[in-house]
């Protein structure tokens, strides 16, 4: 194993430009889980980003929140104004692993790890987060809801690093985060949901029910149109269009769809007039 420890973003970008197979890591929490078992990963090159001071910032400016690539869950839980402006980030951060993981794991890492069961990604996506990528060639911005191209596949090129996450600051009258895990703490989501409503419209994002975390556009349309919903069963046609859950070690497709419908119905009944 070779670990490179660049001190500046410039150095880091130079490094990965020359070593496209190298793996950038920040908290390394996803790596650690399988480390003893996946011996082949010991042979790879790793670029440890944790010393790059310029990636650590969390800033509120120009009507947006900017999370640097090294911003951790813990940083967000404890940052001022976060609870008022972005309560879903705080709620999701508290559901990630244990405190030790919250203190090391980063939002950018959660995005590039590309797990369909990610806890941080649904709330970022519900807030219309934009991924800021940098390479020696320059910067590029990709909306998070267009960042994933398939299971564990993203639009990040090997020579690019996620350097920041930009999130517009909007007033939300609905903001809900739901995580159904196998137990009440330290569990991987069987169903994850983020629901938000602002002047920009409805955002409904689901985790663990498709190859990627994704927006549920059929559900969003149903909400925008004010289609009457008289019970959880009325949501199933839209859910069928939006997600493709599977049976796996953690749950079943049938359970995931049923729970998604019930949580959506229960969460929206009080706030959405079309839900009766």
């Amino acid at each position: 194993m070779t670990v490179h420890q660049p001190g500046t973003l410039r150095e880091a970008l130079d490094l990965i430009a020359g070593k496209p197979e190298a793996v950038p890591v920040a908290g390394a929490t996803d790596l650690l889980v399988h480390w003893p078992a996946r011996v082949a990963e010991h042979d790879r090159d790793y670029v440890d980003l944790s010393r790059i001071a310029e990636l650590k910032a969390i800033a509120f400016r120009n009507g947006e929140l900017m999370l640097g690539a090294l911003a951790t869950y813990w940083d967000v839980i404890h940052a001022g104004r976060m609870k008022e402006g972005f309560p879903l980030l705080v709620a999701a951060a508290r559901q990630v692993g244990a405190v030790q993981i919250q203190a090391r794991g980063t939002w950018a890492g959660n995005i590039v790890n590309a797990s369909p069961a990610a806890d941080g990604v649904p709330v970022l996506m519900a807030y219309d987060a934009v991924v800021v990528l940098a390479s020696r060639a320059g910067q590029e911005e990709v909306p998070l809801d267009r960042f994933y191209t398939g299971y564990k596949q993203t639009r990040r090129r090997p020579d690019q690093l996620v350097v920041a996450i930009r999130i517009p600051w909007r007033a939300h009258d609905v903001a809900v985060f739901e995580k159904v895990g196998g137990r009440r703490a330290q569990a991987i989501a069987k169903v994850g949901l983020a629901i938000a409503h602002s002047a920009a419209g409805w955002r409904v994002v689901a985790a663990s029910v498709a190859p990627t975390v994704r927006r549920c556009t059929a559900i969003e349309r149903l909400l925008t149109d004010g289609t009457p919903v008289r019970g959880p069963d009325d949501l199933h046609p839209a859910i069928e269009r939006d997600v493709t859950p599977i049976d796996d070690l953690r749950s079943t497709a049938a359970y995931r769809k049923t729970v998604m419908a019930r949580l959506l119905y229960d969460d929206l009944r009080g706030v959405c007039p079309a839900f009766s």
């Binding site: 159904v180 196998g182 703490a185 079943t252």
Partner: protein, 734 residues
């Protein structure tokens, strides 16, 4: 008294087997079968690795019989050309570098010509799946009392039910591990274990050595729960074989994934009940059929089955009982000892069934139990007359009062998207080995007087977190009027300690603790104080003895003696199955979320009569830990099987409860001293795992008006049951 080794554990200074300093040693590793059954056609060593740097051991390297000596001799130390389960050990490798070793293990290919595997213990095997006897039955046992068929034929009401329990992983904090090395011509094995003398027996047999040339030392053990009863013999043999072949010390420590995948688990079981009752709820007949999955080798399945069927009829009076038990061979990774040892499976079925009977009769489940709990003078299923003076109904009443049962039972269950319910289990657990087991063990404890006047307790019973060292210290100090600092508890080193039997079966405090007391008495007799010397007088007498006998060893000793009036017939399975039973009533309160079908246990009351509480904090800890483990087994812990092996052998996908998943666990003890236990104590370690699962499921039944029969009751499973129930109700209305 504080835990004697507590500060070392609290500060991280305690050294477990993986922490021990070791010079110039090799790491050991195991290459395992990829297939559930078949002939090994080839073992291929991959390219790109310098195999001359590795020590390689296979079944040809065994100096003695290729057998792990236990109840039977069917299990090989290393598969000899034929495998019977996935992860069966085939080869051993050793190397100085652990990462190189992991790569080497991955580079070996074991090729197997597959043969039809038996993978479902619940269905009779097809002829081509038969691999043990004529029918794959590893053990068949039967208890009969009265005339069940006649009683069922005339019973006013007969209620049937089938209940299933899943496997359970021990999840001790410290994974299994052993170190083996030669000390002159003595093979020394040190490691994490519950039964040092089991390991001695396994080593002497398969390595063809006598007991003088084998020494086994238990290292501080981070939990066992039965998982370190029989399995450590396998790792000890593997480490020893590598050490013998290489001539170097070898350390073989499993990581969590290997430990979960390859070591034993609780036996899955299916239990069928057919129960005859009168309309006012008096049991008249219990017909019970127990089937357990033994896995690919016999291991301890016969005795797990035995304890399971003996507890299957519950703590109730019934004149006509038939319990038929079978442990089945399958090509699953062998199942083994786990806290409760068969009783949790049969108690789950029996206690869940009691509520089904109560619902059928329209009698409150508490009342049904009141009417049937054993009274003194009545007989258990094996014909054991219970006459210990314990008021078992009072144990139940205490729990009902603490839980505020009547009020909660009557309360409104509904609350928006949640439903609440409350459930009971009344149960018992026999302590010590079953039947004649303790007589056959013939356990011995020594208590030595040291030249400085202190005493040393020598036993093979080990500390694994449950408090052996502290309890033995307290028992010896109290018996001899000494302070705890005057008492040393010897390391469990078979070169020094006598065989006081295994650290299992809730026997350590009750049975071995009593031997500690008697060995103390014997020591006192030997120093000639006229039987009166205690405390400082005794210490002076011990020092005087040593002055009079320079270099001599002053040892008091005690060997197990069967308590008077106990009789057991192993052929008819009748008589006194255990010297004493502990009795308990547990009550769980749950809240079910109808959106997610998640069950949360919101309150738990655990009342038990255990003879005498030897250490309040430890006793409470045993109960709370057992309840937590029981709630995990009931709701969360789900072994997913693929070809008879665990597909989710990681703690990310095999979930045990966190503190967030547990209710306050309110513990109360009742005491009715048992004359043959230390200070009147009965066994406690296993009892608390028997009750939580049925109590929790009975509470879910109360909350939702359904009858769940299978654990773990995952949300996915509960959703199916509840939706099916709702559909059926809908059809009835139409």
């Amino acid at each position: 008294m504080h835990r004697r080794e507590g500060l070392a554990k609290l500060t991280g200074r305690e050294r477990y087997v993986d922490d021990l300093p070791l010079d110039d040693f090799l790491w050991g590793a195991t290459v395992r079968s990829p297939a559930s059954r078949g002939r090994v056609t080839a073992v291929r060593f991959g390219r790109g690795i310098d195999w001359s740097q590795f020590v390689v051991v296979d079944s040809q390297d065994l100096p003695g019989p290729n057998e792990i000596l236990l109840i039977e001799r069917d299990q090989p130390v290393l598969a000899a050309g034929y495998v019977r389960h996935v992860h069966e050990p085939v080869l051993l490798l050793a190397h100085r570098d652990r990462v190189a070793l992991r790569r080497a293990v991955a580079a070996v290919t074991i090729e197997v010509a597959p043969e039809p595997a038996a993978l479902d213990f619940r269905v009779p095997p097809r002829p081509e799946q038969i691999q043990y006897g004529a029918d794959n039955v590893l053990k068949h046992l039967r208890i009969e009392k009265g005339d069940v068929e006649r009683a069922l034929a005339t019973a006013p009401v007969v209620v049937e039910g089938v209940y299933e329990t899943g496997a359970q992983e021990h999840v001790y904090l410290e994974p299994q591990g052993m170190i083996a090395h030669m000390d002159g011509d003595v093979l020394v094995v040190r490691g994490s274990m519950q039964c040092p003398y089991y390991v001695v027996k396994a080593l002497t047999h398969a390595l063809n050595r006598d007991e003088q040339h084998v020494r086994v030392v238990q290292t501080p053990t981070g939990g066992g729960f039965g998982g370190k009863e029989e399995y450590p013999s396998t790792i000890a043999l593997h480490a020893a074989l590598l050490a013998l072949k290489s001539g170097r010390p070898v350390k073989l420590v499993y990581d969590r994934t290997e430990d979960m995948a390859a070591t034993t688990k609780r036996h899955p079981a299916r239990v069928r009940h057919r129960t005859g009752v009168t309309r006012d709820g008096k049991l008249v007949a219990q017909d019970i059929e127990v089937v357990m999955d033994g896995g690919a080798y016999v291991t301890l399945s016969p005795v797990v089955l035995s304890r399971g069927i003996i507890h299957a009829a519950g703590p109730y009076a019934c004149e006509h009982v038939r319990i038929d038990g079978r442990a089945m061979f399958t090509n699953a990774v062998p199942f083994g000892a786990f806290r409760g040892f068969g009783a949790p499976q049969t108690h789950f079925a029996g206690e869940r069934h009691m509520d089904v009977v109560a619902h059928r009769l329209g009698i409150d489940p508490a009342e049904l139990r009141r009417r049937n709990l054993l009274r003194d003078g009545e007989r258990t299923a094996t014909g054991q007359v219970v006459n210990d003076g314990t008021d078992r109904v009072a144990v139940l009443e205490r729990a009902l009062a603490l839980a505020d049962y009547d009020k909660k039972r009557a309360a409104n269950k509904a609350g928006g998207t949640t439903r609440r319910g409350i459930g009971i289990a009344t149960f018992h657990h026999g302590a010590g080995f079953t039947g004649s087991g303790e007589v056959m063990l013939s356990s011995r404890v020594d208590v030595a007087g040291l030249p400085d006047g202190r005493i040393e307790v020598l036993s093979a019973n080990i500390e694994m977190g449950q408090g052996t060292i502290t309890v033995f210290t307290a028992l010896a100090a109290a018996r001899l009027g000494l302070t705890p600092d005057d008492v040393v508890v010897a390391e469990a080193d078979t070169a020094r300690v006598p065989n006081s039997g295994p650290t299992v079966a809730s026997r350590t405090s009750m049975v071995v603790g009593r031997l500690v007391e008697r060995a103390c008495d014997d020591l006192r007799r030997r120093v000639n104080t006229g039987g009166r010397g205690k405390g400082e007088g005794l210490k002076r007498a011990i020092m005087d003895w040593h002055r009079a006998h320079p270099g001599g060893r002053l040892v008091g000793s005690a060997t197990y003696e069967r308590p008077p009036g106990i009789a057991w017939d192993d052929h008819t399975y009748t008589g006194d199955a255990y010297g004493a039973f502990a009795w308990a009533a547990y009550i769980a309160e749950v809240e079910v979320d109808l959106r997610t079908y998640t069950t949360r246990v919101t309150d738990f009351v655990a009342v038990q009569e255990i003879g005498k509480v030897l250490h309040e904090t430890f006793a409470r800890g045993q109960v709370q830990g057992g309840v937590a483990q029981g709630i995990g087994w009931a709701l969360l812990e789900d072994c997913k099987w693929q070809d008879g092996a665990m597909a989710n052998a990681q703690l990310t996908n095999y979930l045990i409860p966190t503190t967030e998943d547990l209710p306050p666990i309110r513990v109360a003890f009742l005491e009715n001293p048992y004359p043959h236990g230390a200070q009147g104590a009965k066994g406690l370690g296993e009892l608390p795992i028997d009750g939580p699962a049925p109590a929790v499921l009975n509470a879910v039944a109360d909350a939702l008006g359904v009858e769940p029969t299978t654990i773990p009751l995952t949300p996915e499973r509960l959703m199916e049951i509840a939706e099916r129930g709702a559909r059926n109700a809908e059809q009835r209305r139409q």
